[in-house]
């Protein structure tokens, strides 16, 4: 080995602590980058392949009922490639071992297996047979959640009649990758599942022979202007279906499962960019400060090497190698752990997004990309430090450096400074001497604090969202939905059910709202003036009433339609006689989950020209009677769906505990690595710069503890300063996330719980103290005797 190479390895060994800290930060960044990027491309590739192979439709529409002959007319629309008509109904299910009634979506499939749009993947068992009309395929997650397998039976209320269905196979479909019930945000796989049943038997049960109530299309692949063509097809389809109770056609982006998956993909893409970027910036900064100090300490050596004839470039290269070794040693474990973590994340995704096969894609581009980005970053940090090498001339380097210049800062001239103990002045002046370094340290630690805060914020925001939704808006214990609107008197029967202490009827009708070129299909809900179990809130979380006239929209729906209070919009009822009216927007409400439109119950009845029909009821239930109520509900033919608050909250809590908490724990840990790395390196460098000074003070009779305060004081001050700075950054980053999560499905509010502040503070202080303690051990080994004889 060349002598200069030996110097490299010895110095590397000497600086192992500080470079390890930088390498750890690199490792975390690479880990995050590889993990999230791999998860992203795996999910994306699997989605595309699955959609393609199982012919996921491009346009979807539901309707009341149309004759099968219409399918040919739809197929003739320009741009349409294939058409699949189906019968899809929601029904109440009675699952063995489950007290509450479950909801099932029954989707018709041909009696004989043929390739089709929205095809199914058969995991186990066999396809249905015409000879067995009660045979069904059930979705895999629903089967798993309820421990159902091929051969098991379950009860279902089909059009008012209880039937025993037999599971013949377990299946998956690209239409239900994210399997949630209507109006639900998080999956509850025990109480909602998809069932595929033979078209004949389903149609017979619901009097839909020779008819369909759902259609999905694929588009011709050769179109030049896909977007425009899609819009044309949707418009054409709507025209055709309007006579048959069409509820409005929509494309993939409004398809529920696809929407959740796409939102998730968009989200990881954002995180996969900004989180590694933060780590890389910190790593570059750490490498820069370690090398800058090294160059200062090795002035003499640099001068000597140059005097021997080594060129500035080769000496600079020598220092560049430090950063390369550092990055490479962080890169490898980072890559491996990133892939491992990517596997875990992919497994986690598999719990919520159901594919026949979701495997982690180990992409060379991702790995090379991470390597390249980090190596480039490190070189940038090292180059900045190595630049100084070129400036050192041999003769100058042999002379000792002049004593550092200090001045009394502005702060010190103020009257406060008089009261400061001398050791505090030392701390302040050391900070003032290198304001940039201090600033960058504050920013570095601050960003870690911010990262922790964002992590906690997400949890707090979801918590807040749930609290608002389930304490203020949806206050019922049980919501029941009828197949068909029923006479208002039906509520009396509901009130007689066991345990029901209050029952509020409601009317929900599918409508299309139009304003200028924008339109949205939505369920318009009629609310009684005295509604307690479902309330409307404003942005201050105050309960407001539905105005006697006009529409009340959720703010998000108002944004989508581009309307606000006072504007008029066109309301098109998609049921019954399909009236079209001009309605004024009378107010906006601020729910955080979903979008919706409300009207006074009386005004809605008047609008629809009907005599107080009801679509369902919201119940307050005495928990002691819940089981009895549930078993009764399972057998009420008119009920098509039951939503139970406690079950919903329970499944949400489980998801938050499993997924969110794990992820946030990892993120907290990563952020703590940044704090640790920053503090450790900062203190090590202070110790290296001021070791002599501190040893002199020990000789003068200062205790270990006193010099520790002098050494750490600077860092402690920076860390404490970084906390409020980090909180501001955390607030900013959280605020930046709010628009990303401003969706139809849900919106996260910019609210912070106490834990959003306490957790980052505690984690930061603990990480800072632990890494400072690592350095503090070195104070015990200060050479007091050498200091008497050496000159800094």
């Amino acid at each position: 080995m060349k002598p200069i190479g030996k110097i490299l390895w010895r110095d590397l060994w000497h600086l192992r602590g500080q470079l390890t800290a930088a390498a750890l930060v690199v490792a975390c960044g690479v880990m995050a980058q590889v993990c999230m990027h791999s998860a992203y491309i795996s999910l994306k590739a699997t989605q595309e392949k699955y959609y393609d192979r199982y012919r996921f439709a491009a346009v979807f529409a539901s309707l009341k009922r149309a004759p099968e002959s219409l399918a040919g007319v739809i197929g003739a629309l320009p741009g349409v490639a294939q058409v699949r008509t189906r019968v899809i109904v929601d029904a109440t299910l009675d699952i063995p071992g489950l007290a509450e009634p479950a909801s099932g979506r029954l989707v018709s499939i041909p009696e004989r297996q043929v390739p089709m749009i929205n095809d199914i993947y058969l995991r186990r068992g066999r396809y249905i047979e015409a000879s067995q009309p009660d045979g069904v395929l059930i979705s895999e997650v629903f089967a798993q959640a309820n421990k159902l397998d091929v051969g098991d039976k379950l009860g279902a209320i089909l059009n008012g009649r209880r039937r025993e269905l037999t599971v013949v196979g377990i299946a998956l479909s690209p239409e239900y990758i994210y399997e949630v019930g209507p109006g639900m945000l998080f999956p509850d796989n025990r109480r909602f599942g998809v069932l595929w049943m033979g078209r004949e038997s389903l149609a017979t049960a619901f009097n839909m022979q020779g008819a369909f109530n759902d259609v999905s299309l694929t588009l011709t692949p050769h179109s030049f202007n896909k977007g425009a063509e899609e819009v044309e097809v949707i418009a054409g389809l709507d025209r055709l279906l309007s006579a048959y109770g069409g509820l409005g056609a929509y494309d993939r982006k409004d398809q529920l499962s696809n929407r959740f998956l796409s939102d998730e993909l968009a989200e990881i893409r954002v995180s996969a960019t900004y989180i590694p970027a933060i780590f890389l910036t910190v790593a570059v900064f750490l490498i820069y400060i370690v090398l800058s100090r090294l160059v200062v300490m090795q002035r003499t050596q640099i001068g000597l090497l140059k005097a021997f004839g080594y060129s500035s470039a080769s000496v600079a290269l020598h220092y560049l190698k430090f950063s390369l070794v550092t990055v490479l040693s962080g890169l490898l474990p980072g890559l491996l752990l990133g892939l491992y973590l990517g596997q875990l994340v992919t497994n986690l995704y598999q719990e919520y997004f159901h594919f026949p096969l979701l495997e982690l894609v180990v992409s060379p581009e991702v790995i090379l990309g991470a390597a390249l980005v980090n190596l480039t970053g490190a070189c940038a940090g090292a180059t900045a430090a190595a630049k100084r090498v070129a400036a050192i001339t041999p003769a100058e380097a042999m002379r000792p450096e002049a004593p550092t210049n200090f001045r009394a800062g502005v702060f010190e001239r103020s009257c406060v400074a008089v009261w400061l103990p001398t050791s505090a002045r030392m701390i302040l002046r050391n900070l003032a001497r290198k304001p940039w370094k201090a600033l960058l340290t504050v920013l570095g630690i601050g960003i870690a604090v911010g990262l922790m805060m964002v992590t906690r914020f997400m949890l707090d925001a979801v918590d807040h969202m749930m609290t608002v939704q389930f304490d203020l808006v949806q206050r019922d214990d049980v919501t029941i939905l009828f197949h068909e609107p029923r006479a208002a008197s039906a509520i009396f029967g509901i009130r007689q059910l066991p345990g029901v202490s209050r029952a509020e009827p409601f009317r929900a009708v599918p409508v299309r709202l139009r304003h200028e070129h924008r339109s949205k299909q939505i369920a318009l809900t009629g609310l009684a003036n005295d509604s307690e179990l479902h309330q409307i809130i404003d942005s201050q979380l105050r309960v407001t009433k539905v105005p006697a006239e006009g529409l009340m929209l959720t703010r998000k729906l108002g944004e989508i339609l581009g309307v606000t209070t006072g504007d008029n919009l066109t309301l098109e009822v998609l049921e019954g006689s399909r009236q079209i009216r001009q309605v004024a927007v009378a107010g906006l409400s601020d729910e955080l989950i979903g979008i919706g439109a409300y009207m006074d119950a009386g005004a809605l009845a008047q609008l629809l020209g009907e005599d107080n029909l009801i679509s369902g009821a919201r119940l307050r239930v005495d928990p002691a009677y819940a089981e009895t109520l549930f078993s009764r509900l399972k057998r009420i033919p008119a009920v098509s769906g039951v939503a139970i608050r406690s079950a919903m909250l329970g499944s949400v809590k489980q998801i938050i505990d499993r997924a969110f908490l794990q992820v946030s724990l990892v993120e907290m840990l990563f952020a703590a690595v940044i704090v640790g790395g920053m503090v450790y390196n900062s203190v090590r460098i202070s110790l290296s710069e001021r070791g002599n000074e501190l040893a002199s003070l020990r000789v003068l009779g200062f205790t270990q503890r006193e010099i520790m305060v002098m050494l750490m004081g600077e860092q402690a001050l920076l860390t404490l300063l970084a906390i409020p700075v980090g909180m501001v950054m955390g607030y900013g980053m959280s605020a930046a996330l709010v628009p990303i999560f401003d969706r139809e499905m849900f919106r996260i509010p910019l609210v912070f719980g106490v834990k959003s502040f306490t957790y980052p503070v505690i984690a930061t202080l603990v990480a800072a103290m632990l890494s400072a303690l690592l350095v503090a051990r070195r104070l015990r080994h200060l050479d007091l005797i050498a200091v008497l004889k050496t000159r800094e």
Binding site: P403, T404, N405, M426, L697, V787
Partner: protein, 251 residues
């Protein structure tokens, strides 16, 4: 009187040296450097008396620094006994030695070792803040003739001035003993003399035991006693009948 061990025991005869403050008895110090054992001190016995100005003279490597370090509580002997008044330094732990240095010892280093981020006054104040009965830092600076430089930082002062600040810092806590390791080693001739004058002044005004180690034999003239060390042993103790002023000798 030649001691059996080769060291020489000296007794005070002057009236102002009333009693032994440091008692060093048969102190040896052995370092291990790799495979080699270095005998830095060989059974040295020595007393330092109240108010005296002692110069420990020896070539580099003679062991004089080791002796000074042991006296100052920075190092422990391998064998033997060191008493400071009634404290047995040889048995003290690190915390006790720190306290000993803090309360009783003033150090002056060859390279001054001032804190660069503190002004002259603050460098002195840093020590007086932790002392029980210190001098006023301004008074201490005046004593070394630097009252007018109180607000200057080390980088703004000459070497001699820095060393005088270091002396002010060392004496400001009113130590019982002032230990100076080659205090003029880094200074030019004229400045060196100035610093020695300050040391003499402090010794005279405050009555602090002052031990200066040096390889510069000329300095010996200003001492009450000259203790010559060679190869880890005291080879000669000489008492000056007449103490010279630094202006009266040269090197």
């Amino acid at each position: 009187m030649l001691h059996p061990s080769g060291g020489i025991e000296a007794h005070p005869t002057t009236a102002e040296s009333t009693g032994s403050v440091f008692h060093v008895h048969k102190v040896s110090k052995v370092y291990r450097v790799g495979e080699v054992e270095v005998h830095a001190l060989r059974e040295v016995t020595l007393d330092l008396y109240q108010g005296e100005f002692a110069v420990l003279l020896g070539a580099s490597g003679s062991g004089k620094s080791t002796l000074l370090n042991i006296l100052g509580g920075l190092d422990r002997p391998t064998s033997g006994e060191v008493l400071y008044r009634d404290h047995e330094l040889t048995r003290a732990d690190d915390a006790q030695l720190t306290l000993f240095r803090r309360e009783h010892v003033g150090f002056v280093f060859q390279f001054y070792n001032l804190i660069p981020s503190l002004t002259a006054l603050e460098n002195v104040a840093l020590v007086t803040e932790i002392a029980a009965h210190p001098l006023d830092p301004t008074e201490a600076l005046k004593l070394v003739g630097l009252g007018h430089r109180r607000d200057h930082f080390p980088s703004q002062m000459s070497g001699g001035e820095q060393q005088r600040v270091a002396i002010a810092r060392a004496v400001a806590k009113r130590p019982d003993v002032l230990l100076c390791d080659e205090p003029t080693g880094a200074l030019d001739y004229a400045t060196g003399k100035l610093v020695l004058e300050v040391l003499q002044l402090v010794n005279r005004e405050l009555g602090t035991i002052t031990a200066v180690i040096t390889h510069n034999a000329a300095i010996a003239g200003m001492a009450d006693r000259v203790i010559r060390i060679s190869s880890g042993a005291i080879v000669e103790v000489h008492r000056n009948e007449v103490k010279l002023q630094p202006s009266e000798f040269s090197w």
